[in-house]
């Protein structure tokens, strides 16, 4: 075997190893969801067992899954839409009308992601309380939008940067104003990038738990709160918790699987071309 083959083999094994490590907890969770509470905590863990839907029945009986799911959908897609609406103009101005401070602004925006969210929980909570946004879809949508904005702006900025300047200048010569330039040239040209940015934002919002647990109680609670409601003070019921978690991640898992081609294409957009 020649060295490049060996290297390839090792890399493939490594990739499979990492994939397995990442995938195993999810696999185990799905498995546990079909066990009885007794089997779920058995040591050594049982791999072969009689699958039961008891956990799911109980979960569905105890909470209104559809309401939580609907909240998740509204909030994650809503916040993504809002983030794109805000981010497209800002990324446009940073990519095409840069100033001396553009680079710094971008870095500063990204640096806010390094701030622990709990650091701003108090002010946000008080603001929301006074504005009546606690436990509302709108409130959570706004928070998620702000949470993802730095990443969305940054990604759109890099996609916009990749558009040849000549094409936009040709558009200006043809009589396109800024709005027409964006609608007819920029957006169609960067659609793969915008789509993958949107997908990423949806996924990040879907999985967010800190803000949803702290800012919602029942009306606007998304699926992350749904999961949390099964880790009750009376003790953990692993089978039920696993069933609830599986229900919570199922939609986004399917969504991600359906759009993974688009995701990969968008995220490598520009790099390959």
């Amino acid at each position: 075997m020649n060295p490049t083959m060996t290297k390839k083999l090792l890399l493939t094994l490594l990739a499979w190893g990492i994939a397995l490590i990442v995938f195993f907890p999810i696999f185990w969770m799905v498995l546990t969801g079909f066990k009885t509470e007794g089997e779920a905590v058995a040591t050594p863990p049982s791999l072969f067992f009689e699958p039961t839907l008891a956990g799911y029945h109980e979960v569905m009986a105890r909470a209104d899954y559809l309401k939580f799911a609907l909240n998740s959908i509204v909030i994650s897609f809503g916040s993504t839409l809002l983030a794109l609406i805000v981010a497209i103009p800002s990324a446009y101005s940073m990519a095409f009308l840069p100033t001396k401070r553009t680079r710094g602004t971008l870095l500063w925006m990204l640096s806010t992601k390094m701030l622990p969210p709990v650091g701003v929980l108090m002010p946000v909570y008080l603001l929301f309380r006074d504005m009546g946004l606690l436990d509302s879809q709108l409130g959570l949508t706004i928070v998620y939008m702000l949470m993802n904005l730095p990443i969305v702006v940054w990604m759109l900025y890099t996609f916009f940067k990749d558009i040849p300047k000549d094409i936009l200048e040709a558009g200006r010569m043809d009589g396109a104003g800024t709005l027409q330039e964006v609608l007819y040239l920029l957006l169609p040209l960067t659609l793969p990038g915008i789509a993958s940015t949107g997908l990423l934002s949806v996924i990040l919002s879907w999985n967010e738990a800190f803000w949803s647990l702290n800012l919602t109680t029942s009306d606007a609670a998304p699926l992350t709160a749904f999961i949390a409601s099964f880790s009750s003070p009376e003790g953990l019921f692993w089978a039920k918790l696993s069933a609830a978690s599986t229900l919570a991640i199922a939609p986004i898992l399917i969504f991600g699987w359906l759009t993974q081609k688009q995701m990969v294409r968008g995220l490598t957009f520009g790099a390959v071309k």
Partner: protein
């Protein structure tokens, strides 16, 4: 009707002047070519005319109207980019009709105009294709078609042919010349290519470092370069230069010392006196092999192109290029003698300015129209 005037225009990019006060007058239907070394500001000047770049100071006027504050789309210009800059997500038809779509021209009328332009450029079979499914030459034609559809009064071309291969370049060059006749529009053209500049231009503008060195017809620049830079830039291979000492000078000519004897160059010698050092300039094609010639050189390299042969000669520390006919039998390292007609020689003072020739070359003021059959008579 479309004329263009540039009055002392300046472009400053954050402290560095790139265009340093350019004056230019372009007449209606004229074909003006900008040439100059890389980085001299050709593209910047063109982009300022287009309105894509702001003007730091000075005035740009189209048809006598100041347009400094007018946006690029409203100056009545169309520009063809070196990179073609086609919209990759649109078909050829949509590319060409984009300006009309923005101007809210009804669909039927739009299609009619696009078809008319496509017919001129033989693009009809390609109208439904996307740019990525076109060859370089076809893309170039679409870019030109997009300009034609706008029916501009002035066309701007920034090195439009530089991405094409040699054969296609020749073909497109002729096609552009034909287009100029057919459209009767004013055209401004940037190129690196000597042949494009010499064959297409009514007027060549030679730029160096943001300054206009000379403006004139191709033959005028060739026969009467204003200074040493223009003399060296126009013509290929480059003009030969040799430092010479003046023996005597008057208004009727200047006598200079050459290795094999003196020579009288018929240029106005006012202000020059014996003992001065001047630079003699002779084009390679004006040097003639001659057993009795006053100049000698040893052949270093021979380039045989078939029809003509270039000889690279060395004599002491001076180097010469000589273009002879294709049948020269000399070998490398041969010692050859050569001469030239003094009327073809140029003399430059120490600050690079040319001494004026006593007689103007008969072709220096020739009109482009005399070189080309007009569209009416060539049977098209």
């Amino acid at each position: 009707m479309a004329t263009l005037q540039l009055n002392n225009i300046v472009k400053d990019f954050g402290g560095t002047q790139v265009i340093k006060g350019v004056d230019l007058e372009v007449k209606d239907r004229e074909f003006v070519v900008f040439v100059g070394p890389s980085g001299c500001g050709k593209s910047t000047l063109m982009r300022m005319i287009a309105g894509l770049e702001s003007t730091t100071s000075g005035e740009i006027a189209i048809d006598g109207q100041r347009v400094n504050e007018v946006g690029p789309a409203d100056r009545g210009l169309a520009m063809v980019f070196q990179s073609y800059a086609l919209y990759p997500h649109m078909t050829v038809e949509d590319n060409m009709g984009f300006s009309l779509r923005l101007a809210k021209v009804p669909r039927a009328e739009r299609r009619e105009k696009v078809l008319a332009a496509a017919r001129i450029l033989q693009l009809e079979p390609l109208l439904d294709r996307k740019p990525r499914a076109l060859s370089g030459g076809q893309r170039q034609r679409v870019a030109i078609g997009r300009a034609i559809v706008r029916n501009p009064s002035i066309f701007l071309f920034d090195e439009p042919l530089s991405n094409l291969d040699a054969a296609l370049r020749v073909q497109m060059r002729i096609e552009l010349a034909r287009l100029h006749e057919e459209l009767d529009a004013t055209m401004i053209y940037v190129t690196h290519d000597q042949i494009e500049a010499m064959t297409m231009a009514d007027k060549i503008v030679v730029l160096q470092d943001g300054v206009v060195e000379q403006i004139g017809s191709p033959m005028e620049l060739y026969h009467h370069p204003r200074n040493r830079f223009v003399a060296g830039f126009i013509g290929s291979p480059k003009m030969n230069f040799l430092e010479v000492e003046v023996r005597g000078a008057d208004a009727e000519g200047v006598d200079v010392a050459l290795p094999g004897g003196d020579c009288r160059v018929p240029v106005a010698g006012d202000g020059v006196s014996a003992g001065d050092t001047l630079t003699l300039g002779i084009r390679p094609e004006h040097l003639v092999l001659d057993e009795a010639g006053p100049l000698t050189g040893r052949i270093q390299v021979i380039e045989r192109l078939g029809g003509v042969t270039s000889l690279y000669l060395e004599h002491g520390d001076s180097e010469w290029i000589l273009v002879a006919d294709g049948n020269v039998a000399h070998r490398v390292h041969d010692e050859v003698r050569f001469t030239f007609d003094p009327a073809c020689a140029h003399l430059f003072t120490a600050d690079g300015l040319a001494l004026a020739h006593l007689t103007r070359h008969p072709l220096a003021d020739i009109d482009r129209k005399e070189n080309r059959a007009s569209s009416a008579s060539d049977g098209r």
